[in-house]
């Protein structure tokens, strides 16, 4: 079990000086994830909040080798890097036993949407890479447009609530399951409020031979329109309501990593967030119901899968 004290003593690979918003979950997540390996690390970073905010001209927050790809191709880029190193090892230019880690990173826009094809390709080909998606439920970098990770009913700038619409009409895409369907050795869902769990999953992902995928819920007070100081509590609520269950799938075997003592109603997740405010209008009550029902069904299915 990792101790916070020991983690804090480790060298930071994502250092201070970035321009992330107040209360943003991204630095929190990556300072944990990047501590999960001490091997040399190469990162391919898709366009997005993490990329933009950590490379503000003329500085960088990265203490590792880092390559910014386009919006849609971080997974393909890191696949190319990994293949190149494999070739160098085969030619004897790098010692065969030298451990190097390869990490692809994108937000939900760059992973769930435009980057899905590249991600799927890289996973299917079986590169020895880790891909981490920080899912903040929106295109936060460009001002909060909806993504396929935006939850049902959330108001975003391209799914605005109004007289004719209760916000986003579609449910959130279940990307983690899509990755499970690639039959890769390791897939997990994590959240920064359970930092031990996140750290362990990142460690496992880095140690996995072959592709591994982590989907991490990422707080975004700016687009969720919530109190910046309450982010971690809200992440806990996401986990307690089973809106964002913590589980992992190792070689096809599901395991739920956190069972809430008492499963809380989805309403507790919705209430503190301004993006859901309109759902409390009478005419939008059906959205709340639908959201709860969807979370219940997903949770039930996940439990079934974990018992198999």
């Amino acid at each position: 079990m990792a101790k916070l004290k020991d983690l804090a003593a480790m060298e930071d690979r994502l250092v201070a000086g970035h321009g992330m918003c107040l209360g943003c979950g991204i630095p929190l997540i990556f300072r944990i994830v990047l501590r999960a390996t001490e091997d040399p690390l190469i990162i391919a970073n898709a366009t997005g909040c993490l990329e933009v905010c950590t490379t503000i001209f003329p500085r960088t927050s990265w203490n590792v080798s880092w390559i910014h790809s386009a919006f849609e191709n971080a997974a393909a880029t890191i696949a190319g890097v990994e293949s190149m190193y494999k070739a160098l090892k085969n030619k004897g230019r790098i010692p065969k036993d030298k451990k190097i880690k390869f990490l692809g990173v994108g937000g939900d826009g760059g992973t769930y949407d435009i980057g899905l094809q590249a991600l799927s390709g890289a996973m299917e080909r079986g590169h020895d890479i880790v891909y981490v998606c920080y899912d903040n439920n929106a295109y936060a970098n460009t001002g909060g447009q909806r993504s396929s990770a935006t939850p049902l009913g959330a108001s975003a700038t391209t799914s605005p609530e109004g007289i004719k619409s209760p916000g986003k009409l579609q449910r959130k895409k279940d990307l983690t399951k899509i990755l499970v369907a690639h039959n890769i050795p390791y897939v997990a869902q994590a959240s920064p409020n359970r930092w031990q769990d996140l750290y362990k999953k990142a460690q496992k992902a880095f140690e996995t031979e072959g592709p591994a995928f982590l989907n991490i819920l990422c707080l975004c007070p700016t687009e969720w329109k919530c109190d910046e100081s309450q982010g971690i509590r809200l992440a806990q609520t996401a986990v307690d309501t089973c809106v964002w269950p913590l589980y992992e799938v190792e070689n096809g075997k599901y395991k739920i990593n956190y069972l809430p003592k008492e499963k809380k109603p989805v309403l507790e997740w919705i209430k503190p967030q301004g993006r859901f405010r309109h759902l409390f209008k009478e005419e939008n009550a059906w959205v709340l119901e639908k959201y709860q029902k969807q979370v219940d069904e997903d949770w039930e299915e996940l439990n079934k899968l974990a018992k198999l």
Partner: protein, 388 residues
């Protein structure tokens, strides 16, 4: 070509204070566009956001797609479903659209794409201006084809040219582009939207004959084939392959000539009707400055300075950039001392000017790498130099 009045539902008549991106959305809605598919990308996102807000009250479809490839593909589908459709993007998204732009040209699909240009290449300068996609819009997809591209220099013109773009795309059954730039897209100015009855639109050239006689690619007298709505009961076939009049694949040199020649000639032979220029004090000019988009507004200042200094300088603002006003430039090349071409790139439209001038007069290019506009002094100096 049947002309109709705009549907008042989409027309926000009145004087507004809008940025260029919003004005594009308003222009499209006034032009009867009822389908928008797009993907957020700076500095064009505001158009998509405006659409998503406005479309529910106008009646139509807004879809945010998973990327720009899907966005333009959705447009092609919507147009063949009978709608007028538009998308908006910037550099990286524009690059992703290229294959489908060729498809739309091959299928003779009328649609409108606005590119609010930013500094490139690659991710480049997402929030800062550029005019670096001016050749890409013409040549970016593979194969031979022609398109129409317009260049607004103000939010008002974003509105006006959006209507023109829809009309031109319908008249010639061709993808039509609005090549704006970040400055124009994010500039706030007064935009006057006229009453619906003053907005003249071109209706799609619907096929009215017997259903079994429809040929989607048989050119009419004006070279443009008729359209139908997919699913309306006509036998309908369209493809990206070289095709015959029926739209069926016809894969040999003979049909390639008929098919591709048609795509090119329907624009080239109508170039005079399509091209719109704004000329100022050309008749006695010794020097002519050719510019477009935001650069033409910077040019205005430089030209004022030059005239004050006694230089006979005229201006041409390219409202239509493609097809290029070849004839006019050729004509003027014989009469004047020099052309000056400022643009926010390292030499794109200037090459077209040089081609047309055929060495008859010097063509002085004032490049700019993007990120900001020219200093008017720079243009003034070039004019002065050219006049010596």
């Amino acid at each position: 070509m049947k002309k109709v009045k705009a549907d008042p539902k989409g027309v926000l008549t009145g004087a507004h204070y809008l940025d260029g991106d919003y004005a594009l959305a308003e222009g499209a809605l006034a032009a009867g566009c009822r389908f928008f598919a797009g993907y957020p990308i700076t500095p064009s996102t505001e158009t998509a956001e405006r659409f998503s807000e406005r479309i529910p009250s106008v009646g139509g479809v807004f879809i945010q797609m998973e990327d720009e490839i899907a966005s333009i593909a959705a447009l092609i589908g919507a147009v063949w479903g009978g709608k007028k459709a538009m998308t908006v993007t910037s550099g990286p998204g524009f690059s992703l659209m290229m294959e489908n732009i060729g498809l739309a040209c091959m299928m003779e699909t009328p649609l409108v794409i606005a590119n609010v240009q930013r500094g490139g290449p690659s991710t480049g300068l997402p929030t800062l201006t550029g005019q670096q996609d001016m050749m890409q819009v013409k040549w970016g997809s593979h194969g031979d084809y022609e398109i129409i591209a317009l260049c607004p220099d103000s939010p008002q013109e974003c509105f006006d040219l959006c209507i023109d773009a829809f009309n031109l795309s319908e008249i010639y059954r061709v993808p039509t582009f609005i090549m704006a730039d970040e400055c124009v897209g994010h500039m706030h100015e007064k935009v006057v939207i006229p009453p619906a009855e003053e907005i003249e639109l071109v209706e799609r050239k619907w096929f009215k004959g017997p259903k079994d006689k429809y040929l989607p690619y048989k050119p009419d007298k004006d070279m443009i084939p008729f359209m139908v709505k997919a699913g309306d009961g006509h036998r309908f076939h369209t493809t990206g392959l070289t095709h015959d009049e029926r739209g069926y694949p016809a894969l040999n040199a003979e049909f390639q000539e008929v098919c591709v020649r048609h795509l090119v000639e329907k624009i080239r032979m109508n170039a005079d009707k399509i091209i719109k220029l704004e000329e100022d004090e050309i008749d006695n000019a010794e020097i002519i400055v050719i510019s477009y988009g935001i650069t033409s507004r910077v040019t205005t200042r430089a030209v004022q300075q030059a005239r004050k200094a006694g230089i006979k300088v005229g201006t041409i603002r390219l409202i239509t950039v493609w097809p290029f006003p070849e004839k006019r430039i050729k004509e003027l090349a014989k009469k004047i001392k020099a052309f000056v071409v400022p643009e926010i790139n390292y030499g794109q439209i200037v090459r077209e000017v040089e081609r047309c001038v055929e060495g008859q007069a010097p063509v002085i290019h004032i490049p700019h790498c993007g990120g900001w506009v020219h200093d008017p002094d720079e243009i003034f100096k070039a004019i002065k130099e050219a006049s010596k």
